[in-house]
């Protein structure tokens, strides 16, 4: 089944699984074409084609189990760590096909960072958590440079003022929201171009969530961000474009404002108005 992308605006039937809206972008950072993902024999993603624009925040929404995390993990080849997972299709970062045999995942993952649902700081000091990535990629040759990277990363993640007095204390001793910002700082420290976030606020309280959302807004100027979220207000607050997934199909993509005010596909509408999922 090779799916066409529909652009025209006439009514779409509920059974139609072709992507509607504007999946492509004028200045794409990442380009995904006809991506399929299989876990063993089971297909989790079908023929997804989408662009991720430069310096935009793309939100991915959809009911649980529709394949948002699976698709996100394709973008930095984290699915390589799952034994029975197979990815076909094409995914490019700028001009590089990231699934090309010549591409090494180690530098690739430094260029495409990732933040997880549950904050997962290493059981090391706050300093070492941030310094971990730069150290393994050899980004700093002196202690001074490393100190600098740690400070700028923590500052960008809005955590510096809270932790500068206790950099030697374990990162696991921070509050949940602080831990998540530490994980963002850790990802920033290796100077990625794209940051993938998988429900980064779902384990946090509303205040910590608000802080992270503000942070995402600031980070957009320097990074391209893809965020999976269950919270539609959050998608509306932080993203410029939104993609709606349904049972492994990419149903609709468009500007966030348009998706939330005037969805084209009946399935998108059902989900946004709360009739589904």
């Amino acid at each position: 089944m090779n799916k066409m992308v529909r652009m025209e605006d006439n009514p779409v039937s509920r059974e139609d699984r072709r992507t509607v809206g504007k999946p492509f972008s004028g200045s794409p950072r990442m380009i995904c074409r006809n991506v399929n993902v299989f876990y063993g024999d089971k297909q989790a993603i079908q023929e997804v084609s989408i662009d991720i624009g430069r310096n935009e925040v793309l939100a991915m929404i959809g009911p649980s189990g529709c394949g948002k995390s699976t698709f996100l993990r394709c973008l930095n080849r984290m699915n390589d760590t799952i034994d029975n997972c197979r990815v076909t299709g094409e995914i490019r970062l700028d001009d590089m096909d990231i699934y090309d045999r010549k591409v090494d995942v180690v530098p690739l993952r430094a260029r495409i960072g990732m933040v997880f649902q549950k904050p997962n700081p290493f059981p090391k000091s706050i300093y070492d958590n941030v310094a971990y990535g730069p150290k393994i990629h050899g980004l700093a040759s002196t202690r001074r440079e490393l100190d600098e990277i740690v400070e700028t990363s923590l500052t960008k993640a809005g955590l510096w003022d809270e932790v500068k007095e206790r950099l030697a204390q374990p990162g696991t001793g921070l509050s949940g929201g602080q831990q998540q910002r530490l994980c963002i700082a850790r990802a920033i420290a290796v100077s990625p171009e794209v940051i993938l976030m998988d429900e980064p606020c779902s384990a946090l309280d509303p205040i910590a969530t608000a802080t992270i959302e503000e942070l995402i807004n600031e980070l957009r100027t320097q990074y391209t961000i893809v965020i999976v979220t269950h919270n539609m207000q959050q998608a509306a607050r932080v993203s410029q474009r939104t993609a709606y997934f349904h049972l492994g199909d990419l149903i609709e993509v468009g500007s966030t404002k348009r998706i939330f005010t005037n969805p084209i596909h009946p399935l998108t509408e059902d989900y946004i108005t709360g009739r589904f999922g």
Binding site: T81, V106, F116, N120, F122, P123, Y132, I136
Partner: protein, 461 residues
């Protein structure tokens, strides 16, 4: 009534008691139905069973524990004109003669009429006692059942009673193990105190010479024996160290391979296999050490121009190390697997390779647990006996050369207690002192290890 028959009667009756309790509860609820009982009717049945079974069983247990002492005392009373002027030793001799006669094992040739008469008396009273016992047990069974049945009414908190009795049973079971341990410690402790009355503690702890052979009879020519435990402990430390030098790296590496590199199928096949290895009797490892490893080491050493004794610390240590590899591996593998997948993902997502992730994230995170596991392995190595008996020798050399024969604490305990012994000579008692010291050392190691492991667990909860 004999004992098995009594048990059968109690069992049959308890079934009836269950039924009675159940029905009584059911009917006491009246028209409102069993929903209005405090507990479900089964609990009333169970409660009745418990009160029907426990009193007679208690009586039977008490009889089997105390009857012999009481009956012997009573029987000896009949011959009090003899026993009056006997020493305690002679009385205990008399008692064992009496029991032998009663059980019909044999009749001591020197037994006089008074003793035989006392034995008859014993048998007579025992028969009366047994009759009375059956009657008493059955009576208590019926009484217990009736008391419960009379008191069953809808508001009775049967479930709470039953659960209380179950929890008491469980507590009793768990304390049995504890009391056994306490008993072992106390018995070792008392014998050790006897030892330390003859040999000063300081000599035992700091003395450098261990040669426990001493004259048993006054006319024998022998050294007076010296009991410095240092060489023996040094042997234990050396062999355990060699064992850990083998087991720690090999065990840890195989754990890392199994948990992070091996594919699922391989792991599923190999892990149980290695755990079977842990079940090989240590005496088999002992053969292996003495007949295969020791000669190889000896030949190899000689080809290098070293003098190697045929029983060496090295051979015993190497084989003991191989023995505890599965143990170290199994614990390390559990600990490494307990490191959350999220930490691995976090590291991979930063572009770390597998080996960087293992070295810099997983091992540091798992380290306390691994150290704890290693300490547990050390205390196994320290307590191991068979391999050392067969491969390391008996001579208490104080040496740092692993190619020489040494001896260990456990081996010395065995040799001290094998053969004909006098249980009040320092030579025999020294075994208990060694045992006590060994117990204290492994206890401390285990406490430290468990503390570390527990702390490590809390970190990820």
């Amino acid at each position: 009534m004999n004992f098995p028959l009594l048990l059968i009667v109690i069992f049959v009756f308890s079934q009836a008691a269950y039924w009675l309790g159940y029905k009584k509860a059911f009917f006491s609820a009246g028209e409102k139905g069993p929903v209005h009982l405090h507990s479900r009717p089964q609990y009333y049945g169970t409660l009745t069973v418990l009160w029907c079974v426990i009193p007679p069983l208690f009586i039977l247990v008490a009889w089997s524990v105390f009857s012999e002492t009481v009956l012997t005392g009573l029987a000896l009373k009949t011959m009090s004109e003899y026993t009056g002027n006997l020493s305690p030793d002679e009385i205990s001799l008399l008692k064992s003669d009496l029991r032998n006669i009663v059980s019909g094992r044999f009749i001591p040739p020197a037994a006089d009429a008074a003793l035989l008469e006392a034995a008859d008396h014993y048998r007579h009273m025992r028969d009366i006692g047994r009759q009375g016992l059956s009657a008493l047990a059955l009576a208590s069974m019926i009484l217990g059942t009736i008391i419960v049945l009379v008191r069953i009414r809808p508001g009775m908190r049967a479930r709470n009673h039953v659960e209380k009795m179950i929890s008491i049973t469980l507590i009793t079971c768990s304390t049995i193990a504890i009391f056994t341990t306490v008993g072992i410690v106390l018995s070792v402790l008392f014998e050790s105190i006897l030892f330390f009355q003859q040999v000063p503690v300081t000599e035992f702890l700091f003395g450098l010479k261990w040669s426990p052979q001493m004259a048993i009879r006054a006319d024998q020519v022998a050294a007076s024996g010296s009991f410095g435990a240092v060489p023996v402990f040094a042997g234990t430390v050396m062999i355990s160290t060699i064992a850990m030098l083998v087991a720690a790296p090999l065990g840890l590496m195989s754990a890392i391979y199994l948990s992070d590199y091996a594919d699922r199928k391989f792991r599923a096949a190999v892990k149980p296999l290695l755990e079977i290895l842990a079940g090989v009797p240590t005496v088999v490892y002992g053969f292996f050490a003495a007949l295969t490893v020791a000669p190889v080491i000896r030949q190899f050493g000689e080809s290098l121009g070293l003098s190697v004794s045929s029983e060496s610390a090295l051979a015993a240590g190497l084989v003991m190390g191989i023995m505890i590899i599965p143990f170290v591996m199994s614990i390390s593998d559990d600990v490494i697997n307990a490191v959350p997948q999220a930490l691995r993902d976090g590291s991979y997502a930063l572009g770390a390779t597998k080996s960087e992730t293992i070295k810099k994230v997983i091992i540091p995170a798992a380290l306390p647990g691994i150290v704890g596991g290693m300490l547990l392995a050390v205390s196994r190595a320290i307590g191991e006996t068979m391999i050392v008996v067969m491969a390391a020798g008996l001579s208490a050399n104080l040496t740092a050369n692993p190619l020489q024969a040494v001896t260990t604490v456990t081996v010395q305990i065995v040799t001290l207690l094998v053969g004909d012994q006098e249980f009040d000579s320092p030579k025999t008692l020294a075994a208990f002192a060694l045992g006590l010291l060994l117990f204290v050392v492994t206890l401390i190691l285990n406490i430290i290890a468990l503390y570390i492991v527990r702390k490590y667990r809390e970190q990820y909860e």
